[in-house]
């Protein structure tokens, strides 16, 4: 027999989507593949897409959990629109995810799961593997369940434990296809299950290897190689948006010399921030899991009064509940970071899905004239910098700050070149001096910031609270003119934060052009990918992305006036566009909006931009 040389095809980038029942371990499988690829040197971006139910009915479309990852030898900004490879552990996974697979893409299915019962649960009247509906795809049927069983039948594990290893077979097979080493995953299995039962370790290892060997032995698949990306040298780690947010807050606390206090109540998709900070006793962080959202923020306000860097983390419905207390932090002018991990709303809405529809709530969702700085992160890893920045602004400007992230950033992960603390800007709390008489609302002439006097400091005893205070002295005041003065001063203080807000930079032609695509927050990756691709195609298109929402950067209008058409793209019905209409009324803003609980696709953005460029 001819000694076949394995055919290896080199690719620039690949998108893989793992999908199965929410109990099938698809999130873990995806994470392990991402980490292995990152270790290999690829740039990676990931996005889990999972149902709100912890264990939705097995085998149904509603219970399908997915994990998409995009890796490449070039810079990767998004988890990818459409998958090159879909791994589907059951018929429901095919049904739920087919729309996310590229025409001609590969679908690997567990053939054993295509039983009449499962087909019915998934809502298929006919086996899709047997009719021609999947004709445009490269279907690879693998008896994953049986092969998993066979490879570990001698270990004496119960059936449930055996079936739990199926995901490792799929992972091994995909590792083979993309020429990835198994070491990282084998080590992971050792640490994860080692203490539990040595048989579980053995089973997972064997099944992983069996999946890999299956690919190798059958030669039914070509294998592919995605070379390492050309990324800046340094020490890297993989990080998701929630962990990055938690760490950014911890970093701001350390830099400012304050203890971090988080008062929070569990809510999807923000709970991981609470969990991470509760684990950070090593750094002295205090984490107060409160009885409700209101107590979450109120404990934080109490801690801020006592001299901590205080924060509260939540998602949309929780932000609504905190609204009154944000007003209290604003009128007492105490530092506080409010992290809002946005999700689909209103009400419980789409709790596990992503959306940018809390922007106006963050800007205006309070009673009274209550200005609050609002900033937004744009990638999973830059949640670190913007959480840090939220902490810096809060402390240095004595104000509550709202940081907007969302489900997409919170759960998405990417490799991150680790920052050193020495590289981060200073944070200097404006503490009142001990030996001078303390006037709670005496302001710094330049920044309008009041001084912070912390309980326990002799001689600085004073009262603050929700009632309007006399300017300078801080005693309760109902004087009409004073309320106007204080309202103005609070507004002006927030406006003056702009002094340290970096200027915006256009991606593309700085001198103007036909079309400027405007985005904010987490849509960054999709928009820049679409714009970059169109620039490479020779189109006159540029991009402007906002992280500072209130106050807007100084040079906003200067840039907007240079472009013929402005289109604001966001995952809501036009909240940022409307905000720009208020702040810079002289321009005409077009909109591109989506509210499906899903991020944009590069494809849909490009199609829209082509259209805008064509219209004159």
């Amino acid at each position: 027999m001819e000694n076949l040389k394995k055919e290896v095809v080199e690719l620039d980038e690949v998108v893989i989507r793992f999908s199965g029942d929410s109990g099938d371990g698809m999130q873990l499988t995806g994470t392990l593949f991402s980490n292995t690829s990152a270790l290999f040197g690829n740039d990676v971006s990931t996005f889990p897409d999972y149902p709100a139910e912890i264990r939705a009915p097995q085998g149904t479309v509603g219970g399908v959990s997915g994990f998409q990852l995009h890796f490449g030898k070039k810079q990767i900004f998004t988890p990818g629109d459409y998958a090159d490879v879909l791994v589907a552990m059951n018929p429901a996974a095919v049904k739920a995810n087919l729309r996310w697979v590229k025409q001609g893409g590969t679908i690997i299915v567990d053939a054993d799961s295509f039983t009449d019962k499962n087909l019915e649960k998934a809502g298929y009247s006919q086996d899709p593997l047997k009719d021609d509906k999947l004709g445009n795809y490269n279907i690879v049927e693998v008896p994953i369940t049986n092969l998993t069983k066979q490879s570990i039948e001698d270990l004496g594990l119960d059936n449930k434990s055996v079936l739990r290893c199926k995901n490792m077979f799929a992972l091994g097979l995909v590792y083979y296809i993309f020429s990835r080493p198994l070491e990282h995953t084998l080590n992971f299995i050792e640490t994860k299950f080692g203490a539990k039962d040595p048989r579980v370790v053995e089973a997972n290892k064997r099944v992983l290897q069996a999946g890999f060997n299956y690919g190798d032995n059958l030669q039914l698949l070509r294998s592919y190689l995605v070379q390492p990306a050309d990324i800046p040298a340094g020490k890297y780690r993989s990080i998701n948006g929630n962990i990055a947010t938690a760490w950014g807050l911890l970093a701001a606390a350390e830099k400012s010399g304050l203890r971090l206090f988080l008062g929070s109540y569990p809510i999807t998709p923000a709970s991981e921030i609470l969990q991470e900070i509760s684990a950070r006793k090593d750094l002295g962080a205090v984490c107060f899991q409160a009885e409700d959202e209101i107590a979450g923020i109120c404990t934080a306000i109490g801690a801020s009064f006592a001299g901590c860097l205080a924060a509260t983390s939540t998602s949309g419905p929780g932000l609504s509940l905190k609204a009154e207390a944000i007003g209290l932090a604003a009128i007492t002018e105490l530092p506080l970071v409010i992290v809002n991990v946005q999700r689909g709303g209103p009400s419980t809405g789409l709790p596990t899905k992503t959306e940018q529809s809390d922007l106006l709530q963050a800007l205006y969702g309070r009673h009274g004239e209550c200005p609050v700085p609002v900033i937004a992160a744009s990638t999973p890893s830059d949640c670190f910098y913007y959480a840090y920045e939220a902490g810096r602004i809060a402390v240095e400007h004595m104000t509550p700050v709202i940081l907007l992230t969302d489900g997409f950033l919170a759960n998405g992960s990417e490799p991150w070149k680790i920052t050193k603390m020495s590289e981060l800007p200073e944070i200097k709390p404006p503490f009142a001096q001990k030996d001078k008489p303390y006037l709670p609302y005496l302001r710094n002439a330049e920044t309008m910031v009041r001084e912070w006097a912390v309980p326990g400091t002799p001689g600085l005893e004073h009262r603050v609270g929700g009632l309007e205070k006399m300017a300078v002295t801080g005693t309760v005041s109902y004087v009409p003119e004073n309320h106007q003065v204080m309202t103005f001063e609070r507004e002006e203080k927030v406006k003056r934060i702009v002094a340290k807000v970096p200027d915006l930079k256009v991606f593309g032609n700085q001198n103007g052009g036909k079309l400027l695509v405007i985005g904010w927050g987490s849509t960054y990756g999709y928009i820049i990918t679409a714009v970059k691709e169109m620039q490479d195609e020779g189109h006159d298109i540029a991009m402007l992305h906002f992280n500072y929402i209130n106050p807007l950067p100084k040079n906003t209008a200067e840039i907007l006036k240079l472009y013929k058409k402005l289109v604001v793209c966001e995952l809501n019905l036009g909240q940022f566009a409307n905000y720009l209409r208020i702040k810079h009324q002289q321009f005409n803003y077009l909109q591109y909006n989506k509210v499906q609980g899903q991020p944009f696709t590069v494809l849909e953005l490009k199609e829209h931009f082509y259209k805008l460029l064509k219209e004159e």
Binding site: N35, L39, G41, I231, P232, A233, G234, K235, Y236, R237, S238, W247, L250, A251, E254, R259, F261, G263, K281, D282, L283, G284, V286, A290, E291, I294, A295, C298, T299, A300, I301, G302, A303, S304, F305, A306, G307, A310, A325, G327, L328, T332, I418, T419, K420, M421, P455, G456, T457, P458, G459, E461, H462, R463, V464, G465, G466, L467, T475, V476
Partner: protein, 337 residues
Amino acid sequence: MADVKYTPKDFKSDQEVRWCPGCGDSAVLNAVQKTMAELGRNKEEFVVISGIGCSSRFPYYMNTYGFHGIHGRSGAIASGTKTANPSLSVWQITGDGDALAIGGNHFIHEVRRNVDLNLILLNNQIYGLTKGQYSPTSKFGQVTKSSPFGTVEHPFHPGELTIGAQGKFFARGIDYNVALMVEIFKEAENHRGISVIEILQNCVIFNDGAYDYVTEKENREDRLIVLKHNEPMIFGKNRDKGLIFEGSKLKVVKIGENGISEKDILVHNAKEKDPSLHLALVNMESPEFPVALGVIRSVDAPTYDQGVYEQIKKIQAKTNIKCMDDLLSSGSTWNVE
């Protein structure tokens, strides 16, 4: 300990007290100022935190650190302050509406957590600041501005609620008796954990006379009992009445009648962990029983704030992560050349 000797005046702020003339709140204010002057702590260590309501203006009248919060949330704010800095002496001032209606959730949870706070609940059984609507402690059937035909709601008993939420310290004072309040406040300050102190406080405008039955000068010694740890539960003008247990229920008896002598009378044990008798005592109502005053329950238990820092200390002693840079490069990382 303070090296300065304070007088109550040192704790008065320069703000004019704006409660109605005759309001019970003023007596509580005096008692708190007197207590703080006598506690021997430095003034800067006291923090007074309130919610919304008449009584919640309290911090503005104190020359200490103070925070006037929002309606119902004083418990959460105070919990945050105390947890942020356990070396402070934090006093939460609240009312029956603030603590038990809008703030009911925070109240039960701060009690359950046992945050080391002194909580003074000024109970006037009415909403005063909003001008006379019924509160969660208003009597069943009470006619108020928002219950013109009488309420059809059952009131909370703050003591019962405190014990139900696993409270370890509950005391009751009354606005006319400043000396008793000072005594209770001192015990509360020395107790580690949350000390809930209900003050029966008369609202002269909207609920005047709510406590008249028990405060009437001629009869009050027969209608009130001041409980003291280790002392028999004896009361009455002539010190001839007492409490006994009969058929698992409390009963008022007369000493010298039906063969009852002083030694048959229950001796108050505020330190008893089992809350059954404490519960019976806080629930005593007129006219069948005297209303119990004094420290009714005072049981030691670990506090929340203590627990938080003990855990931090324990973890910090054994961790390799000593600073942010350690954390940032912990776990799985890789180098790109």
